[in-house]
C-alpha cells in the first residue's frame, strides 16, 4: 500500500503543529464524522499536541454506533431460524441487543458468519441454495456501493436466496441535522475521507454555503489530520467558509462516478433511524422497486419490536458531541467492553470504547 509513509512525517507534523499553536486565537470546536479519523486521532495522540482551546469532538461517524437496537434484535431473531445464514461485517457481532448479541448466538450454534464483503455472502448463497443468506447491510456511502453491487449481481444472476437486512445510511444530511441542533456548536468539520472518496466534494458544500461552517476533507494519516486542523483554524480565524479537499490523492471533486451510479441504480433515499438520534429524514437508503425482493423484510415476516435505548445510556448526546462519555453515569462502571450497554462502547471506532481504551478523561 503506498501513501502511508509519505503522510507520516514527524518534522512536517511538528511544523504544522507549531503554526496551529501560533494561530489559534479563540476556542474552536472541530467535529470529525468518521470512525477512522476518531481512531487515528487517538492512536497518534494528536489531542495532546493541540492547544487547549481546540476541542475535538466525534460525531455520528461510526456505522456500528448509529445502528439502532431493534436492528440487532431483528438480526438475532433471523439467526434463530433454521434455514437462515446471517453474514456480517466483524464489528457487528459484539453489539448488544435487548437480551443477547450475535456473538452469543454464534456460541449457541446459530449460523452467523463474518465476511469482509457482501460479495462473499452472495457466493455463500450460491453454495447454500437451500438456505436464505442474509447480509447485515450497514455502513455509509463507504459500504453502500458494494452492497448495491451484490444486490445487482444477485438479480442479474437470478440468485433468489440472498437478501439484505437494510440499515445503510448517508452522511451529509445527518451532518446538517447535527449542525442545526441548538445544543451543538461546531466551528468546523473534518469531513469523512472514505465517504468523500465515493460521493466527492459537492455533497458537503452546503456546510460552507448554507451553514457558514468550514470543512476539510482529509485522509487518515497524522499529517492529513493535522493539516486539516491547520486549515480549519485558519478558516475560522478569517471567517472564510469553504470546503477544502486536501485528500485529493483519493477524493475527486465528482467522487467515484461508477460507485455512485451503482448506488443510484439500486437504492433510493429514505428516512432512517439512528441510535440515539431518532428517525431522520433522507438519511438512509432503501431498495428501489425493482430490487425490493432482496430486502429480507419482503421475504421473511419478522416482527420488529422497537426497544428503547437502555435507561441512562447517553448514546444520542455522545453521538452529537454534546456530552462526553465520561459524563455518562454508566461509563466504565456498568458499561465497559466486557459488558457493553451501548454500541458506542463496543465498536472499535466508538467514542465510548475509545475513551475507555485510551483512558481519556
Amino acid at each position: 500500500m503506498k501513501y502511508i509513509k509519505e503522510f507520516r512525517d514527524p518534522k512536517l507534523a511538528q511544523k504544522m503543529l507549531n503554526d496551529i499553536w501560533h494561530n489559534t486565537k479563540k476556542d474552536i470546536t472541530i467535529m470529525e464524522v468518521c470512525g477512522t479519523h476518531t481512531m487515528s486521532i487517538l492512536k497518534n495522540g494528536i489531542r495532546d499536541l493541540l492547544p487547549p482551546n481546540i476541542n475535538l469532538i466525534s460525531g455520528p461517524g461510526c456505522p456500528v454506533c448509529v445502528t439502532p437496537q431493534w436492528y440487532i434484535d431483528t438480526a438475532i431473531a433471523l439467526s434463530e431460524r433454521d434455514n437462515v445464514i446471517i453474514t456480517t461485517f466483524g464489528d457487528m457481532i459484539k453489539v448488544p441487543g435487548k437480551s443477547s448479541s450475535l456473538k452469543l448466538e454464534m456460541a449457541l450454534g446459530r449460523d452467523i458468519r463474518i465476511v469482509i464483503s457482501p460479495l462473499d455472502a452472495l457466493e455463500m448463497a450460491k453454495q447454500n441454495p437451500k438456505k436464505e443468506v442474509v447480509f447485515l447491510g450497514i455502513g455509509f456511502e463507504t459500504t453502500a456501493p458494494i452492497i448495491a453491487l451484490s444486490i445487482y449481481k444477485a438479480k442479474n444472476e437470478n440468485i433468489k436466496n440472498f437478501s439484505i437486512l437494510q440499515s445503510i445510511k448517508t452522511m451529509p444530511n445527518v451532518m446538517k441535522e447535527v449542525v442545526k441542533d441548538p445544543q451543538v456548536n461546531i466551528d468546523g468539520f473534518l469531513c469523512p475521507g472514505h465517504v468523500s472518496a465515493i460521493i466527492g466534494v459537492k455533497p458537503f458544500e452546503f456546510l460552507s454555503e448554507e451553514l457558514n461552517t468550514p470543512a476539510v476533507i482529509a485522509g487518515f494519516e497524522y499529517c492529513d489530520i493535522i493539516a486539516a486542523i491547520y486549515y480549519l483554524v485558519d478558516m475560522a480565524n478569517k471567517e472564510k467558509y469553504e470546503v477544502k479537499n486536501i485528500y485529493n490523492r483519493i477524493v475527486k471533486y465528482e467522487g467515484n462516478e461508477k460507485a455512485t451510479a451503482m448506488m443510484n441504480k439500486v437504492f433510493v433515499l429514505s428516512n432512517s433511524e439512528w441510535r440515539g438520534l431518532g428517525n431522520i429524514k433522507d438519511t438512509g437508503f432503501k431498495m428501489k422497486e425493482a430490487y425490493k425482493n432482496y430486502d429480507v423484510k419482503s421475504k421473511i415476516d419478522i416482527k420488529i419490536i422497537p426497544s428503547p435505548i437502555p435507561k441512562d445510556c447517553l448514546c444520542g448526546e455522545i453521538l452529537k458531541g454534546i456530552k462526553k462519555p465520561t459524563q455518562c453515569k454508566l461509563f466504565s462502571k456498568v458499561c465497559n467492553p466486557s459488558n457493553p450497554i451501548g454500541a458506542c462502547m463496543i465498536s472499535q471506532e466508538g467514542t465510548c470504547g475509545a475513551y475507555y481504551k485510551y483512558k481519556i478523561r
Binding site: M1, I4, R8, P10, A13, Q14, L17, G35, T36, M39, L42, K43, N44, G45, I46, R47, D48, L49, P63, V64, F89, G90, D91, M92, I93, K94, R113, I114, V115, I116, S117, D120, I138, G139, F140, T142, T143, H194, Y222, I226, P337, S338, Q348, E349, K357, Y358, K359
Partner: protein, 335 residues
C-alpha cells in the same frame, strides 16, 4: 487416500500401527521407546520448569509453518523465556476423523524436525480421534519440561527497575496477519510469512551475555501490548515505548490498516521481548543482532517509576497514548 478413522483412536490394532509407523518412527528416542504407560526420567540437576499449551490454529498449514511446528516452537519458547533449557516435550493429538494420514504425517514430521533442532526429546504422547465436526481437523497439546541450570536465575517482573530498557527481537504482527490473510473465508491475497520459530538459541545467548536480564516473554496471543501489560501489572512501574523504534513490516502494516487491527496487539510466534538493565542493554542488543532471529532487534522503550502500571506509547509525532490490555477477539472492521 488413507484417512484417520475412529478406530485409529480406539486403542486397538489400528492405533498401535499408527503409533509404530508414525509416532515412534518420527519421534524415536530412548525414553519414548521405553513404551510404558509413563516414561521415566532421570533425576534432573537444577530447578525444573514446566509449561503446557494447546494449539487450535486455522488454517493448519500456513506460510512459514504449520500446526506441528507451532506446537513445538510455542512450548519450547515458553520454557526458554523462563530461563530454562528445554529438555523434554509431550504431545497430545485430538484428531477429527477423516483427516488424511498424509497430512498428519507432514505435521508429525514437522514436529520431529523442530524437536530435533531444539535438542528436545518427545517423551510421551496420546492420540484421540473424534467424530467429524467435533474438532476442526486437528488440535495439539504439548507440555514442555526444562532445566534451569543456574540456581540463582529467577526471571520475574519484581526484578524490574526504573531505567531498564525494553528490547524486541524484530518485526511485530507477522504471525497473526499471516494467519488472518490465509483464512479462506476472508479471501485475501497477501504474502505475509509467519515468524513461527524456535527462540531457545537466541535466548541462551542473551542469558550468557548479561546477568541483568530482568524478565523475558514471547509476545504471542494479544501481541506486544498485552504481554507488556501482563509484565507490568504487578510491578508498580510503567513502560514507555517509542513508536518510531518499533519495526512493523510494510505488508503487515497495510493488512492491519485494511482490517482495522493494531499490530501491537497482533500475535507473534518467533519474537522475544527482553527487559534488561540500562547498562547491559547495548551489549544484549549486539548479541541479539548477531543471531538471524534477532537481526532486527531494537531498544523500543524503557521503564519509568510512576506507580501506575501502565504501558505508554510515545507516537511518531510526540503524542502519548495508553496501550491497554486487549479485551475480546480481534474482528475485521466495517470500513
Amino acid at each position: 487416500m488413507e484417512i484417520i478413522t475412529l478406530s485409529h483412536g480406539s486403542g486397538g490394532k489400528t492405533t498401535h500401527k499408527l503409533i509404530e509407523n508414525l509416532f515412534y518412527k518420527n519421534f524415536k528416542n530412548d525414553i519414548l521407546l521405553q513404551k510404558n504407560d509413563s516414561s521415566i526420567l532421570q533425576k534432573m540437576n537444577g530447578k525444573v520448569a514446566v509449561t503446557t499449551d494447546s494449539f487450535v490454529i486455522k488454517p493448519i498449514f500456513f506460510l512459514g509453518g504449520d500446526i506441528g511446528k507451532l506446537s513445538i516452537c510455542g512450548t519450547i519458547n515458553d520454557l526458554a523465556v523462563s530461563g530454562a533449557k528445554p529438555m523434554y516435550i509431550t504431545v497430545g493429538f485430538i484428531i477429527e476423523e477423516g483427516l488424511e494420514i498424509g497430512i498428519l504425517e507432514k505435521i508429525v514430521m514437522s514436529m520431529a524436525k523442530m524437536a530435533k533442532q531444539a535438542n528436545v526429546k518427545v517423551i510421551a504422547g496420546d492420540t484421540k480421534v473424534v467424530e467429524k465436526g467435533s474438532v476442526d481437523k486437528i488440535f495439539i497439546n504439548t507440555t514442555g519440561i526444562g532445566l534451569i541450570e543456574d540456581r540463582q536465575l529467577y526471571l520475574c517482573a519484581n526484578n524490574i527497575q526504573e531505567g531498564d530498557k525494553v528490547i524486541i527481537s524484530g518485526s511485530l504482527g507477522d504471525h497473526g496477519m499471516c494467519i488472518m490473510s490465509q483464512r479462506e473465508e476472508l479471501g485475501l491475497d497477501a504474502n505475509i510469512k509467519s515468524d513461527c520459530n524456535l527462540l531457545n538459541t537466541l535466548i541462551k545467548d542473551i542469558l550468557n551475555t548479561s546477568k541483568n536480564i530482568r524478565i523475558m516473554r514471547d509476545p504471542t496471543r494479544g501481541g506486544l501490548a498485552t504481554t507488556l501489560n501482563e509484565i507490568i501489572a504487578h510491578s508498580n512501574r510503567s513502560i514507555v515505548l517509542n513508536e518510531k523504534d518499533i519495526f512493523i513490516k510494510e505488508e503487515v502494516m497495510s493488512m492491519c490498516q485494511m482490517l482495522g487491527f493494531d499490530p501491537l496487539y497482533v500475535a507473534n510466534e518467533g519474537k522475544v521481548v527482553v527487559i534488561v538493565s540500562k547498562d547491559d542493554a547495548n551489549k544484549v542488543l549486539d548479541t541479539m543482532r548477531g543471531d538471524p532471529l534477532g537481526k532486527n532487534a531494537t531498544i523500543i522503550g524503557e521503564i519509568i517509576d510512576d506507580n501506575k502500571n501502565r504501558v505508554y506509547l510515545k507516537t511518531d509525532i510526540g503524542g502519548t497514548r495508553i496501550l491497554n490490555m486487549h479485551d475480546g477477539e480481534l474482528l475485521p472492521r466495517i470500513c
